[in-house]
Symmetry: C2
Subunit: 164 residues, 2 copies
Amino acid sequence: MALVSKGPWLDDDEQKAWRSYLLMNRTLETHLERHLQRDFGLSKSDFEILVNLSESESGRMRAFELSRSTQWEKSRLSHHLTRMEKRGLIRKEACDSRYPEIVITEEGLAAIKECAPVHAARVREFFVDVFGPDRLAVLGEVADEIVGTIGKHCDDDCPLEARS
Amino acid sequence: MALVSKGPWLDDDEQKAWRSYLLMNRTLETHLERHLQRDFGLSKSDFEILVNLSESESGRMRAFELSRSTQWEKSRLSHHLTRMEKRGLIRKEACDSRYPEIVITEEGLAAIKECAPVHAARVREFFVDVFGPDRLAVLGEVADEIVGTIGKHCDDDCPLEARS
DNA sequence: CCGCTCGGGTTGACACATCAACCAATCGCG
DNA sequence: CGCGATTGGTTGATGTGTCAACCCGAGCGG
């Protein structure tokens, strides 16, 4: 089927690189997530939350700090935290005047302590080591450039509400 | 909070590159998907299906061909196709003996013809051009290597059913 | 012919994400 | 003081992804 008239199209090399990149993403993501799920019963999202909490002093954060560091929207975060609380990975604790703090539980801490090294090993095996130090460094640079470009363009961090 | 004993951990540079990569992914994905959605009412998934169909001769494919080229599981595909049919982007047509063919509708074709060039332009702007030809070529290589490595390791394309 | 398995495909239940609407305490300021 | 706007957070509806179970026709062994 004819593929639309030539516009600001990608040429063959670009097309190929882009699709390779997409495939790599999908493959890596599903692989890592699959094993996280299978071996530890954690989703990528659970993992992200637990990492953030465990990296903070004292293992407790306010929800909006989590929101900032994960870049999630607040409703997604709220929903996910209630699910995680139901599973005993975290707890919401009323603290000063208002707004609960999110605390990682013993169980949550145990879970991430167990799975983090294994996960890291996988990242090393399938990502870091395949790249090798040089290409990895280059990737890091480009990645930051891209994030910068998009951030700049979609100006004030583009929260989507900015719409006529 | 202490971050777990040093295991097969990632060192700082590796960690940083990995996180930059993750952030780039998320940023790029949400940016592209957001605009696809906003400007054309299509999700990334819709787009992927429509691209595949429109690239085939005659705009019709069997479901399992789509499943192969998108790498989706069959149930996801089935669900998504019924939704897309409800929205008039595709049609399921009974053909030879059994098993319907998936056909792109006029509407679906119009939609992708309209949005594909715009999407491609975005990919160029925020991905291709930021990389530049050299680094892009390198990325393409690495991406293929990674896909190869995972494919080989998780041996027979790891369909997850392979489990004791 | 019977009963097997097997592959393509659907279905239902559930986890998850997104959007819009809402709520409640605080802050700015008259 | 009082009241409106803002901020942090929750809720519900709806769309999407995943898993497991199922359906059904084809091929095949007996």
